[in-house]
Symmetry: C3
Subunit: 175 residues, 3 copies
């Protein structure tokens, strides 16, 4: 479980750093990240041993994590490229790839690909609005706050409001 927790937590940022060539990757010289993940995993394991977690607690924590990772991933990518598409993609990867690696390790199709919930979509929207805010030269914490707010809002709409993506179905007789 410790392995899964750490992979989920740092997987997205690690992939971003590898693709951008920011090596050694971020946690090699800053092991505080690993300690935080291990601590959080231990706390959660102990907690669910004694009490029920509050309704949706994990999904809410996950929504804030997704928003934070996505916007900070986009921020780092801005130091490497001027291409908006790449900035948004790197933000999205940072936000969602950790969970995807976790699902691959568990031999499942990554939730982010499978689910009709707004997950990748929330990350894409958050990274896009953050980057637009930067391009419009909004003052410093504003783009970050806007980007995180929209990502969290879309996740909440999906968790509480049942907002869903349309699904694609191959027509009968298609290949």
């Amino acid at each position: 479980m410790a392995v899964i927790a750490v992979v989920t937590g740092i997987g997205g940022g690690t992939l971003r750093d590898l693709l951008l060539g920011r090596t050694p990757v971020f946690w090699v010289n800053n092991p505080v990240y690993l300690w935080v993940m291990l601590g959080a995993a231990a706390f959660t394991v102990l907690y669910v041993r004694f009490r029920q977690p509050p309704l949706h607690a994990l999904e809410i924590a996950d929504a804030f994590g997704l928003a934070l990772f996505t916007v900070s991933g986009a921020q780092i990518a801005e130091g490497f490229t001027r291409q908006g598409l790449i900035v948004v993609l790197m933000g999205t990867l940072t936000g969602v790839a950790g969970g995807a690696v976790r699902d691959v390790l568990c031999a499942e199709i990554p939730m982010v690909l499978r689910s009709r919930q707004l997950y990748a979509t929330a990350a894409i929207a958050g990274a896009t609005l953050y980057h637009l805010g930067v391009l419009l030269r909004l003052p410093s914490p504003v783009p970050t706050l806007i980007g995180m707010a929209i990502a969290v809002a879309l996740r909440f709409a999906s968790i509480y409001g049942g907002l869903r993506l349309p699904s694609f179905r191959l027509p009968e007789g298609g290949r």
Copy 2:
């Protein structure tokens, strides 16, 4: 589906760049690659909505893609190493790894490992002949054309002619 299309298209070259240390990877400063993949995915989705794709159309497109990716991967590796084995391996990886990542994301055993069709074999043969052509100092587009031709020919022999690899079976009583 956009994610899957992009991963399949750029996965092999991305892995090659990571292993060689060519970072940021090729598409970070050249997002035209991503746009082409997204465009092709959108076109294909729309097309199969309205018409049957022609027989073997996807496999034929895939055969040319495999040949092109394999030879260009080998070409790039030649700038990093003189080791023929590594050049051939990098070409093969560039050609086949995108599809393997796609299969892993879909929680399947990669087709390239599973199938008795000549797939990795076509890439290995194409990269080897391309590299031999370079070592023999054939004039400039000749090695590329030879390498691509043999890879496409082996794929076609597999698709249309039913050419297959022998399979390995553990003898009864083996471990």
Copy 3:
């Protein structure tokens, strides 16, 4: 099978090199590693065709491989960081990641995550004792020998003595 053998053999060290930014990765300019893996795979395939492998032969070979890869991975990480946690983690990754990638390619949950055998634990203990030996300035081959000995001993205790980890079970009514 050649692909699987090579991935298992060099996967852990490749991941370590990518994360540390030691690129091109170790086998690009030293293809002797690839030849050794291919040779060993060919030998094993031929061997099991004609004779039963001795009892536990593969697991014993694997135990020594795990010990060697783990300690050498930790050694390389020491050149990049002073953080003990990272040294131990990189050693463990080098030891176990190749097999994990192999399992992912075969669409299985990696044995290292699934099994209650002491596998990652053996690597963690070996890397930790090796690194402690270095910190205590023991003379040169001693930390290596101690680290490898403890990793092999724990694997043997697991294979022959049936030593197992406790498993974690979510209490009834948990999330």
